[in-house]
Symmetry: C2
Subunit: 569 residues, 2 copies
Amino acid sequence: MRFSHVTVPTLREKPADAETASHELLIRAGMMRPAAAGIYSFLPLGALALARVENIVRDEMNAAGALEVALPTLHPSEPWIQSGRWQAYGPEMMRMKDRQGREFCLGPTAEEVITSIIARSAPSYRDLPINLYQIQTKFRDEIRPRFGLMRGREFRMKDAYSFHTSEEDLDREFKAMYGAYVSIAKRCSLETSVVEAATGLIGGSESSEFMVPSDIGEDVLVHCESCDYGANAEMEKHRPAIKMGEAAAGSLEEVHTPGMTSIEEVAGFMKTAQTSVIKCVLYVSGNEPVAVFVPGYRDVSESKLAMHLGTDDFHPMREDEIERYPDLAVGFVGPVGLDGVKTVFDSELKGVKGVICGANRSDYHLRGVEEERDFNAEPLFDVASVQEGDLCFKCGGALKLSRGIEIGHIFKLGLKYSEPLNAVFSDKSGELKPIIMGTYGIGTSRMLATVVEQHHDEAGIKWPRAVAPLPVEIIVLGTEDAKQVETALKLQADLKDRGLGVLYDDRDLSPGIKFNDADLVGLPLQVVIGKKLASDGTVDVKTRYTGLKSAFEVESAADMITRALDEAP
Amino acid sequence: MRFSHVTVPTLREKPADAETASHELLIRAGMMRPAAAGIYSFLPLGALALARVENIVRDEMNAAGALEVALPTLHPSEPWIQSGRWQAYGPEMMRMKDRQGREFCLGPTAEEVITSIIARSAPSYRDLPINLYQIQTKFRDEIRPRFGLMRGREFRMKDAYSFHTSEEDLDREFKAMYGAYVSIAKRCSLETSVVEAATGLIGGSESSEFMVPSDIGEDVLVHCESCDYGANAEMEKHRPAIKMGEAAAGSLEEVHTPGMTSIEEVAGFMKTAQTSVIKCVLYVSGNEPVAVFVPGYRDVSESKLAMHLGTDDFHPMREDEIERYPDLAVGFVGPVGLDGVKTVFDSELKGVKGVICGANRSDYHLRGVEEERDFNAEPLFDVASVQEGDLCFKCGGALKLSRGIEIGHIFKLGLKYSEPLNAVFSDKSGELKPIIMGTYGIGTSRMLATVVEQHHDEAGIKWPRAVAPLPVEIIVLGTEDAKQVETALKLQADLKDRGLGVLYDDRDLSPGIKFNDADLVGLPLQVVIGKKLASDGTVDVKTRYTGLKSAFEVESAADMITRALDEAP
């Protein structure tokens, strides 16, 4: 592949919207270009790197006995309506109508399509288990696409679906996929931490996420320092280190708190801790307000709330929506005497006494509030978010919070799709039973970005060998020097014979620019052909990952490069 | 791969909507399943066969020096508006809005996206030529999706885009792509005929189509029996064998023709030939009527009309639309005195004399009509369709009509996209000039169906070796016979070591069903392991394409099968 401004159009400037290293470097190194927010075109080197990652995924899926299929992008609405996800999915699902007015979505995942196929094939117990996967473009209309490939609206994903006659067999496959994912991450030079996770809109009884620890990760992870408990904060369980509202229950009293709508202000004014205040956060779901009550020192976990509401189609009440609900004293809403509004109470509020909450009257709070006596904390759920210092619900150890990038997610689905879509198998006695399912996703374009996130330096990308778009870049310094050019072309041909692709920089530019571009693009080995060729018959070879340089005699250069590659990270 | 009802869910019954062999067989052989009209899921064997075809395409494109990219599915409307195609495309383009209300289409081709990228990279003459391709899912909301993969709404296509500094260099690339397409078709065992074709909505100055001759082809091809002229009927040129309207020009006369709205009726009533009658076909384009006049013995070519109108967003006037245009005497529209309606005249109408046409008054025709004297045939275009018996415009030889399946289409685009999208390069003197472009498409899913169309018999598919999903099927007859099963598994392992994938039929079904399924699925070689294993130590091997059978000693079976495969078509 010839290095030119078009094939590899490198940029000196950081793109304005690039907040992460992978976003910046993949664009600056000419691997991709934005087409719209969260939608990217892969240029030749980016497409090669993506194919490398996807071939590793394909390889491990095939080794685990899964079979590749290719499902459509456009999914008709009918099976999605049957499964209930057409209704549960909010605006994140991209939808369209065809010229006949029939409704379709652009598949975010494909449980409905594949389960419909299996249902119609009416398998017997002999035909199961089966695991079908595809590597395909997927769509989610993220409200805030960002970090380049990390959170795109159009992205690449491997999705797999397995079908079983028993829970035990699903367990076996779940473990096999777990193993395959560990291998995939390892081959892509990614260290992962596996945590319990929310099943969300996919559903099912249990799921594990494969997380790459990273400060730019959008997921908060919870790990116990004493036992092996690890979970995504969006569904973790914890014990609070402090108990809220243990003051003696006084009598209920209304206090004038003009303009004090924050917990800080109220607690300060009342000369008490935030652990004595009930926080109310108002949401709107399906045009109806929802009042969510949590301890004053915590936030609402929207992912936990989504689980409890059974939809992700809700949002914090906006300024412009307030006037639609004139009965709500926004800023001063409390659980006492609150009627006609859907409520959700965090479990920590059960049995509180002597606490403060909004009085449902502008500029007033109540104090001396007692659960059961003054209001009933129902329905009661775990909807508050975890904090550093919370305790492990299993062993009482201290919980540590960290951030991670989710690259994979595997689920035990049980009957979530097979029941509504009537996917059954006939057992040994000929009886029809619902098929037990699992689903397994790994984001290949996100994984590509994560590799860059984990393997780069100030100068650019440091591709690990297994996912590098090409193994070698050859840089000719004397582009007018016939001997240098001839040597470069011969070396390129020799390496091609060994199955090693080359990026060839024959541009008539200064050595500095070419070296900088080589570091930016970050192929594992850089071969520099310059004046030393004439003086002592050698070429310089630099290992990008380590920065180490060697001089190889030109006659044995192809052999030495092959060997150096075997040793490269 | 294990043969089971789920992995390869074969069907005995022909699908109700299958009108072609490829549609029927790809479904019955368990290669694919419909998800919606014109939208298919590929099951494991179908996905393998598709990958085979696509790898041949990739291979030949790489050999021709093109570089693979991956462009998005969702294209923002802006560059499409700039190129004018957003407006020109009718309901065939699938469009949608994102949650912010921004408009996108699901890419039918990607000229706008790729040209925008090249434009922003501001290449110099040194960086060109370049040819970028992708193999990707494409979308066209066909009004009549049919023939399975032949005319789908979601389909797979390789699309390539080349960028040049001169017409001569585009010519060179056009020939290189022509050569690559010939090689691709040959490797896929498809015979092709290359014809001149309409550039349609893609645009440009010249294009060639790669056609596989077939009675189920949707394209009509025109070939001269005397010279090398060959073209798609949608844009062919011909000379009429008969000259219309050469009667002496009489005087204009109105004739009462009650209820006679067909050419046959009018010609019969007037005791003259259809060559003396002007046919009028009414269309509606953008809510405006268009009257198209052609010789009475010909039809309107809608593809030629699309070229002249510059859009394909028009349709023959429907019954329910007639009342919207009360000034039109529908059934009796003629060119004489027709005002306020857009008209198009076929070139053959220039200079006609003594002909008959509608009188623009219900139940009346005019006779003795003379062009120029009574009306002006303007604008004048070639909009009539060709007929068997027409003459070659080049040499006057007889034209033959036949049908073909279009698998590929290559275009010289010129400046069609680079001008509106401002894609320029700097030449040697630093001057900015528009980039000259070409575009090259080949339908990979359609090519897969075409392979089946051309290679099948009553019993099923006969996969040519190069595109067969797997090379070998092993059928064990005695599924309870440990020796037979052990031999099958060993042979499968031996073939795998040789890089040969196996479909293994170990189902507990009658030999007849298994043989029928093997013929239906149509892998190149069938290895039958049965009682002969015990009696004389042999297995039977059948070449699906020829039907020839041989007995191989079990010890040398893997070697013999490898050799037989080399000889298989």
